[in-house]
């Protein structure tokens, strides 16, 4: 069966520090992968998506970046965090053409102080 792993669950980082969040998917190949961010009490904002290794599309200009070094690995990074980067970060995947929608990871609660 397919599973998605996302870590860490919570993270407190000072302003200006770097960030690296990792997401891995098991039990599938060539998934479409996504990073979303959710501010408190708000909907989900699509940040990046990837349809294959090394292929990254950005939806929102920001100081974040994403990379996909392996088929089932998706990484969200920042060189210098801002206070506004605080939020709930979610990784998701979907197999093209399926009828089961997205599968989301458990999320990372990032607080920038």
């Amino acid at each position: 069966s397919q599973t998605i792993h996302q870590w860490p669950a919570t993270l407190v980082q000072p302003v200006g520090s770097p960030l690296s969040l990792e997401c891995t998917v098991e039990g599938t190949s060539n998934p479409n992968l996504y990073w979303y961010r959710q501010a408190a009490g708000r909907g989900l904002q699509l940040l990046f998506y990837s349809v294959g290794i090394g292929q990254i599309s950005s939806e929102v200009p920001q100081n974040l970046s994403a990379s996909r070094p392996q088929d089932r690995q998706f990484i969200l990074s920042s060189k210098k965090l801002l206070l506004s980067d605080s939020g709930f970060y979610l990784c998701a995947w979907i197999a093209s053409g399926t009828g089961n929608g997205y599968t989301f990871g458990s999320g990372t609660r990032l607080t920038v102080v």
């Binding site: 479409n32 909907g43 997205y102 989301f104 999320g107 609660r109």
Partner: protein, 113 residues
């Protein structure tokens, strides 16, 4: 991309049937309609998906009229554990339209004892 409009919030009581309607006037021919449920500090969870008429699974029913410009998620006999945010999304599964699915603010359902 088809934009969706949902009520911001709804209240119900245990044992009642809850119907949440979503408007998607610009839905495209190849778009499917998908509903997700999100609990606090968790990623959204797929509930149900449909293209037209009615779809039912063990959790909910989805009613889609012939013109497909709206859809209604029906939750039978809700319990306190159904308190969550419900999102309606539309997108094309076959051609990669899912690459840019955007989550709106969703409908915050509160079930009271």
């Amino acid at each position: 991309l088809a934009k969706t409009t949902q009520p911001i919030s709804m209240d119900s009581y245990e044992g009642q049937e809850v119907n949440i309607t979503c408007s998607h006037n610009n839905i495209a021919t190849n778009d499917y309609i998908t509903w997700y449920q999100q609990f606090p500090s968790q990623g959204p969870r797929f509930i149900i998906q449909g293209y037209k008429t009615k779809v039912t699974n063990e959790v909910a029913s989805l009613f889609i009229p012939a013109d497909r410009k709206s859809s209604t998620l029906s939750l039978p006999r809700v319990s306190l554990s159904d308190t969550a945010v419900y999102y309606c999304l539309v997108g094309d599964l076959a051609t990669g339209g899912y690459n840019k699915l955007i989550f709106g603010a969703g409908t915050r359902l509160a079930v009271h004892p």
